[in-house]
């Protein structure tokens, strides 16, 4: 059997610190879902705005059905990611619950606004809700662009009552850029740098 080297107290402390740092630097978020959702929602916002505003063609709103395809893709992606993940972290788990709370709140908000026929409130409330998981994810992951993105959503939500209803979808488009697309590309960059460094 191999003889184990005897460690001094200092070496023990250094080993502990270095291993904790190695586990911390195991950054597994490549921003893919932020980018996919960001581009799909941005595309839907711009297409539905153009169809309604320039061509008065309200059937263009069916473009939003494409969201269901992304939901199906996300289901497969998360399943695959979970089965191939080498670790499960506490932050990853909390982050998952934050986004679950967002989805449940979103469904309830859309349901309530539709039943109460308060359609004009959907976009401003959507911006309020978008801000919550984005901001919290930024705090949990200690990633500033997401924190700024979340605050950006709330600023856009505060502006929404002063903007004509037909332009409110453009506020969603702006929110998607600040909260999902910009942080998504920065997350991708961080993932690539950290994984390159780990090789």
């Amino acid at each position: 059997m191999t003889e184990e080297p005897i460690m001094t107290e200092k070496e023990s402390m250094e080993l502990t610190t270095s291993m904790i740092n190695k586990a911390k630097n195991n950054f597994g978020e490549r921003g893919l879902l932020y980018l996919i959702w960001g581009w799909v929602i941005l595309f839907c916002c711009l297409v539905s705005f153009a169809g309604n505003y320039f061509f008065n063609f309200d059937k263009i709103n069916f473009i939003w059905l494409v969201v269901y395809l992304v939901i199906i893709f996300q289901g497969f992606y998360i399943r695959k990611k979970r089965s191939s993940a080498l670790t499960r972290t506490y932050t990853g788990e909390i982050n998952g619950y934050v986004w679950l709370v967002f989805v449940v709140s979103l469904i309830l908000m859309i349901f309530i606004c539709n039943v109460a026929k308060q359609y004009v409130l959907i976009d401003p409330l959507l911006l309020v809700l978008y801000g919550m998981p984005t901001f919290l994810s930024g705090i949990i992951m200690k990633f500033k662009p997401l924190i700024i993105g979340g605050i950006g959503c709330w600023v856009l939500a505060a502006l929404s009552p002063f903007i004509n209803e037909q332009f409110s979808v453009l506020l969603i488009a702006a929110a998607v850029i600040v909260a999902w697309l910009i942080p998504g590309y920065l997350l991708k960059q961080k993932f690539e740098i950290l994984n390159e460094g780990a090789k």
Partner: protein, 95 residues
């Protein structure tokens, strides 16, 4: 000043490395521990079993896509032992 004995189970390079990694995550796969510690599979497996026998970690063996998978997770006894070990180290180092 009071000195505490260093836990012999934890005062070993590889076992301490494994415990330090596991304290930072909820659970980790065997290959993750192997990659981060640069240990051989055989040695790592022996040390994981020692930690398991001491009651510091839980080891779950399962299949993932038809491949065997070993998941390790630090438990409450392990967290307490790790905290005591670090406190003991600190008391020695503050000499």
């Amino acid at each position: 000043m009071e000195f505490k004995d260093l836990d012999p189970i934890l005062h070993s390079q590889l076992r301490l490395a494994v415990m330090s990694l596991l304290i930072s995550v909820k659970e980790a796969e065997f290959n993750f521990l192997k990659e981060k510690t640069n240990a051989t599979a055989g040695n790592l497996s022996v040390q994981i079993n020692k930690l398991k026998d001491a009651g510091y970690i839980d080891v779950i063996k399962q299949f993932n896509n038809n491949y065997p998978q070993t998941i390790c997770k630090i438990n409450e006894k392990g967290i307490a032992a790790f905290e005591n070990y670090v406190k003991a180290l600190q008391s020695y180092m503050s000499l």
